[in-house]
């Protein structure tokens, strides 16, 4: 019984670990990593815009300061979107 348990565990491990190698090797495209990075940056920038807006509405930022910060953040978001648009389609 004990040896059967060991054999089953061994077979499952070998099967699970070797599964990707039994398929044809795939080269990793570079563009995906860059897209992921830019998308993450874009989402973070949206978060910053929302945070600045919430800070203004809760009285932590003056309207003048908020306008400056918001303009900067939106400019940065635009730049990220432009770089995303320049990437080839997936």
């Amino acid at each position: 019984m004990e040896y059967l348990v060991v054999l089953v565990v061994l077979l499952v491990v070998v099967f699970v670990v070797s599964a990707p190698l039994r398929r044809r090797g795939v080269q990793e495209p570079d563009v995906d990593a860059l897209r992921e990075e830019l998308e993450a940056e874009r989402d973070a920038k949206y978060g910053e815009i929302r945070d600045a807006d919430l800070d203004r509405r809760t009285g932590k930022l003056s309207d003048a300061d908020w306008r400056t910060i918001d303009r900067t953040l939106r400019g940065e978001a635009i730049e990220i979107l432009r770089r995303l648009d320049e990437l080839p389609e997936r």
């Binding site: 990707p20 795939v26 990793e28 992921e36 973070a44 945070d51 910060i69």
Partner: protein, 730 residues
């Protein structure tokens, strides 16, 4: 199943080695099949270790004493609930739990990030499997939980350490280990990011939930340990600056610093060196904590005692520290900051201040913990520092920390105008001043406690003000009821308001600590039944002695309790009758007599506690069994002499009658008992504050609804000019 257990561990060790190699090869050659194979090795590691762990658990539940570990840490009289927790009461079992949790959390992060971080992940996988190799190696070559007892299989085991028979022990170690192992995840990804020079914020965003979960688990583990200490150790405190307690606190402090400063990097691209250093230091401190518990280099009630694991852990720590320093130094160009601080009056600046305080606290704790070793290295003689030394440095730092946790939520990111800041400070400062005055007049004059009360009020008022303003803004935009607006506000800004709730919880927790340590009244008294002692405004009367034999589920004697009923009276009114006792667990030591073995084994205190919102009344008894000693000795000589010739059944019956007689005698003819009696204000605030911290942490960690992300993404997917004009909702 000993062979199967051992085989699983060997397989786990080989899987780790293979997976680490496959991941590095896949990362270097950019072969996704090898990277996937390395990742799957982590899943396989989890499965293999889980099988080993189930085998060990089953052995404990079945009381299979052919397992050396089960014999040494369990018995047939150990309740089933505690038998389930018994595996991690031992060095070997807890190492296995460590490996199980490491493989589980590693599988989780690698599964969720498998389509992201493609350059960093293979190296992070290799680092995680490197840790796996280390722990699996310890289990295979040094501390196997699957050792068999040589010779015959005994009918009874030594039993679980009575101090560990507390519900907290079921959750406390797994939570601590989850914290430690979860902190290795950001450590591994930081190493991966440094190796591949992909030092943008992507790896931080992917691992942040795991860093937060690590912080949460470790924090919950620490508080559960404090509660166990308060209820189980019989000294009335919850924190003693013990080396093992300190070991868990250090990574929690640096982890807290990291969770704050990482937001600055995410938003501003600043503090890259600081953040990566903090996360590496936290990973090192997590392993250092594990090392302290297992090496036996420092004396602690929580440690596993002397062991041979010190050297391997020391080597691992040297590799981690040396490698971290080398990596950070060699990547200084990529770690250059992208922006500078806009203003000293900004949330970034408050976070920086909080980081410095947290790291300073960590340094104080580190210095005090390792002082015995440092003093021995310098002067040749070992000396240690006690709680007053720790308090001298940590109390002022804690005050500054609470102040900053109140100021942070009141300042905007990037820059705040002084007028706005002053307006935001008005209500919290006013509330703090009122509380300061009220406490000074009605309670007492401990300067640090007064300051902590005032600062706690400042934080709570600040958080309340923030919530109120947020809700008001939300209602102004979208209407709806107050509760609905509150729920939506928190749902849409989970990280922000979860964080605020954590700050409120920390403030409540610190107020509880300040009150209970500054205004605690304690007495150690010797009383005979009927006598009273006064503790503050309370009169505690030793009403009567108690004793009982407690049988296990299988009918055998689990323990003998000698205790006391204590009546609590305040202002002539009876509030409560507390029961406290000390339990005596039988020993299977061959040197002890047939009767004395029931009294000479390990003992455990059960405290009497009347816990309330404003104060705890706490008492623990140390019964005097000296009058029973001559009878016990007489019983030993009877059972070793003529009694030894009796048939087993008759002998057992006679022994049971003897024990009943002894417990009856204790109640009939009781000498004075020694009591420790405490009245501690606001102890419950500590546990309540910790629960709020945990709730805030859960809110912050909970993923935002996908619909929100989609709506925002959709709003920004159109042309940039149109998007920029769109208002963004609260």
């Amino acid at each position: 199943m000993l062979v199967a257990g051992k085989a699983c561990l060997i397989l786990a060790f080989v899987t780790c080695l293979y997976g680490a190699g496959a991941s590095i090869y896949g990362g270097r050659t950019r072969r996704r099949d090898w990277v996937a194979s390395g990742r799957r090795a982590v899943y396989a590691l989890f499965g293999t270790v889980l099988v080993a762990f189930v085998i060990l658990e089953a052995a404990f539940l079945r009381s299979d004493f052919s397992f050396d570990l089960v014999y040494a840490h369990s018995s047939t009289t150990t309740p089933t609930f505690y038998r389930m927790a018994a595996p991690w009461s031992s060095q070997e079992g807890s190492l296995l739990l460590w490996l199980l949790l490491l493989s589980f959390w590693s599988s989780l992060i690698l599964h969720f990030s498998k389509d992201r971080l493609r350059e960093v992940a293979p190296y992070a996988t290799a680092v995680l499997l490197g840790f796996g190799t280390f722990f699996a190696g310890l289990l295979v070559f040094m501390e196997s939980p699957f050792q068999s007892l040589s010779g015959f299989v005994p009918a009874e085991g030594v039993g679980l350490n009575p101090l560990l028979r507390h519900p907290s022990m079921m959750i406390h170690p797994p939570m601590l280990y989850s914290g430690y192992t979860l902190f290795t995840v950001p450590f591994a990804f930081a190493v991966g990011a440094l190796l591949t020079r992909r030092l943008n914020t992507d790896w931080i965003r992917s691992t942040r939930p795991f860093a937060l979960a690590a912080w949460l688990c470790l924090g919950v583990g620490i508080v559960l340990g404090a509660r166990w200490s308060y209820q189980e150790l019989g000294w009335g405190g919850y924190w003693a600056w013990d080396p093992v307690e300190n070991a868990s606190l250090m990574p929690w402090l640096t982890g807290t610093a990291f969770l704050h400063s990482v937001m600055i990097q995410e938003k501003r691209g600043m503090l890259k060196v600081w953040n990566v250093s903090l996360v590496l230091a936290t990973g090192v401190l997590a392993i250092l904590g594990t090392f302290l518990v297992r090496s036996g280099i420092l004396q602690s009630i929580h440690a596993f005692g002397a062991s041979t694991l010190g050297i391997p852990f020391l080597i691992l720590l040297i590799v981690m520290i040396g490698g971290s320093i080398a990596l950070v130094a060699s990547r200084s160009r990529e770690l250059r900051t992208e922006h500078r601080l806009d203003s000293l009056l900004s949330r970034e600046a408050a976070f920086l201040g909080n980081n410095l305080v947290l790291v300073a606290m960590c340094f104080v704790v580190f210095w005090g913990t390792f002082f015995p070793l440092i003093s021995k290295a310098i002067s040749g003689s070992e000396s240690s520092v006690g709680p007053p030394w720790f308090d001298r440095y940590t109390v002022p730092l804690a005050l500054v920390l609470v102040l900053l946790s109140g100021v942070g939520p009141l300042i905007a990111w990037r820059r705040a105008t002084f007028a706005n800041f002053r307006r935001n400070l008005l209500v919290p400062t006013g509330v703090a001043a009122v509380v300061l005055l009220a406490v000074a007049v009605f309670v007492g004059r401990s300067a640090t406690a007064l300051a902590m009360f005032a600062l706690g009020a400042f934080v709570l008022a600040g958080v309340g003000q923030e919530l109120w303003r947020g809700v008001r803004a939300r209602r102004a935009m979208n209407g709806g009821s107050l509760p609905r607006a509150l729920v939506t506000l928190v749902q849409r800004n989970r990280r922000r308001y979860g964080g605020y709730l954590v700050h409120a919880g920390v403030a409540i927790l610190f107020v509880g600590i300040a009150a209970s340590s500054s205004f605690q009244q304690a007495r150690d008294v010797k009383l005979t039944a009927g006598q009273s002692a006064r503790v503050g405004d309370y009169t505690l009367t030793y009403m009567r002695p108690t004793s009982r034999l407690v049988a296990a589920g299988n009918g055998r004697l689990e323990r003998i309790d000698f205790g006391a009923d204590v009546r609590v009276v305040k202002g002539g009114k009876v509030l409560e009758t507390l029961h406290t006792h000390r339990s005596y667990y039988p020993s299977i030591g061959p040197m002890l007599g047939p009767v004395s073995r029931f009294f000479e084994g390990e003992t455990e205190s059960q405290v009497g506690l009347d816990a309330g919102f404003s104060r705890d009344v706490w008492t623990a008894v140390a019964p005097d069994t000296s009058l029973l000693r001559p009878v016990i000795r007489q019983g030993d000589s009877v059972f070793e002499g003529p009694g030894a010739k009796l048939p087993q059944a008759q002998r057992d019956e006679l022994l049971a009658k003897t024990l009943v007689g002894l417990t009856d005698r204790y109640v009939r003819d009781t000498p004075p008992a020694t009591f420790r009696m405490l009245v501690s204000p606001l102890v419950n605030w500590i546990w309540f504050g910790a629960m709020i911290v945990a709730l805030g942490g859960l809110i912050a960690i909970w993923p935002s609804p996908r619909t929100v992300g989609r709506r925002v993404s959709a709003a920004y997917a159109a042309r940039v000019g149109r998007e920029a004009r769109q208002p963004v909702g609260v």
